[in-house]
């Protein structure tokens, strides 16, 4: 197929003239096949990777009726506040004054410690992204809930007290 009949040019040469050696014109196609399949593999992989994924988010209905409001045990609650510059502030229970600072890497340990020390039914994580937190921060924290298998969590806005406390802390720490 990849061969061609090569006519020996000027075949009528005298006896003393050397015949030029006929080379085969057959080309080894193996590397070309390799290349072809490599490209195919590459394209298949890159196309499937591009598909976007989605995470589910269910928000509760806003309610004013006191009997519909979820009650959270103080002993089982962990509040995570997301601030400026990828900083996380957290406190246990009900007292924002005991707020501590951490980051997105170390927060996993805090969540897990809390999870270990609390009965499953009592555990409740409250995520409060403040005005300076980014969308990525919020998604990261929701992701963290999935990673650590936290069944009960909620995302709400921080109270004015908490926000001012975060701002004070940020000012003191010089977070930009």
């Amino acid at each position: 197929m990849a061969e061609m009949e090569v006519k020996s040019g000027g075949g009528h040469k005298g006896p003393g003239v050397k015949k030029s050696k006929k080379h085969s014109t057959r080309v080894d196609l193996t590397p070309m096949v390799d290349l072809g399949f490599l490209l195919i593999t590459f394209f298949i992989f890159t196309t499937t990777m591009a598909q976007p994924t989605a995470m589910n988010l269910n928000m509760p209905k806003d309610t004013d009726k006191p009997d519909e409001i979820n009650k959270v045990k103080e002993s089982g609650s962990l509040t995570l506040m997301l601030g400026k510059g990828n900083v996380v502030y957290y406190y246990f229970g009900n007292d924002p004054a005991t707020m501590q600072t951490t980051n997105y890497k170390d927060v996993r340990k805090i969540i897990l410690d809390k999870k270990k020390s609390t009965p499953v039914d009592d555990l409740f994580v409250i995520i409060k992204p403040d005005k300076d937190a980014t969308y990525k921060n919020a998604v990261d924290m929701l992701d963290e809930m999935t990673i650590n298998d936290i069944a009960r969590y909620a995302m709400v806005n921080p109270t004015a007290d908490e926000y001012s406390k975060i701002q004070q802390t940020e000012k003191a720490a010089g977070v930009q």
Partner: protein, 220 residues
């Protein structure tokens, strides 16, 4: 009595046919791939461990870019209905031509008052055009109206509501979008993300491992 001689065949296989097949496949895949249409607004979604694919059918997507502008995308199946619903709700007079332009437009990125001009801008020129996004604040919440129109137009269908935010978008913008959805009694959303690996040793990692093992029982 000589034994029949076994003819020695050459071990050289002709690769031409295989080469043909490989390149035929390659050509097919290249041509069949739908390229992502270049977007006038670039949005980089954050990563998450979720591996569920984003729904592509009957999708109503609200995007938030890094400067907190809000845009609306819809899939073609619902686009026309939503447009009709919105226009009749706002008592806007539109021509069939307007409707045609709307169906061709990639996304909604301006307040209603500028919409009819906006959809006439060709997609290539959108990059150089200034637009402020759909108003989603409390005074003039058109996002809420669009969502309402989509809900009304998509009755009997299961609409998928997607939120696609940029990494750098601020949380209040996201919160505002959620608020607009909530006002329309929609509480389930899909957040568009990119794939991220599950951290090794975490609870989810162990759970996934367990699920895998129970799916494929160990061979005896």
């Amino acid at each position: 009595m000589g034994r029949a001689k076994i003819k020695r065949g050459s071990t050289n296989v002709d690769m031409t046919a295989m080469c043909d097949v490989a390149f035929l496949l390659l050509t097919f895949f290249i041509l069949a791939t739908k390229f992502k249409p270049s977007e006038a607004v670039e949005i980089v979604p954050p990563g998450s461990v979720s591996n569920k694919h984003a729904p592509q059918k009957d999708a109503f997507t609200v995007s938030i870019d890094k400067t907190n502008r809000v845009f609306i995308n819809m899939t073609d199946e619902i686009k026309g209905d939503v447009f009709d619903e919105m226009m009749s709700e706002r008592h806007m007079q539109v021509t069939p031509e307007d409707r045609k332009y709307f169906l061709e437009a990639g996304f909604i990125g301006v307040p209603l008052s500028q919409l009819l001009q906006f959809i006439r801008v060709p997609t290539e020129q959108l990059k150089n055009t200034k637009f402020n996004g759909v108003p989603a604040d409390s005074t003039n919440n058109e996002l809420q109206a669009w969502i309402g129109a989509a809900v009304a137009a998509g009755q009997g269908k299961k609409l998928n509501f997607l939120i696609k935010g940029d990494d750098a978008a601020k949380y209040p913008a996201f919160s505002g979008v959620i608020e607009a959805f909530k006002k329309n009694d929609i509480y389930k959303y899909n957040l568009v993300t990119t794939v991220e690996d599950v951290p090794e040793g975490s609870e989810l990692y162990k759970a996934n491992l367990k699920a895998q093992q129970s799916e494929t029982p160990p061979a005896k």
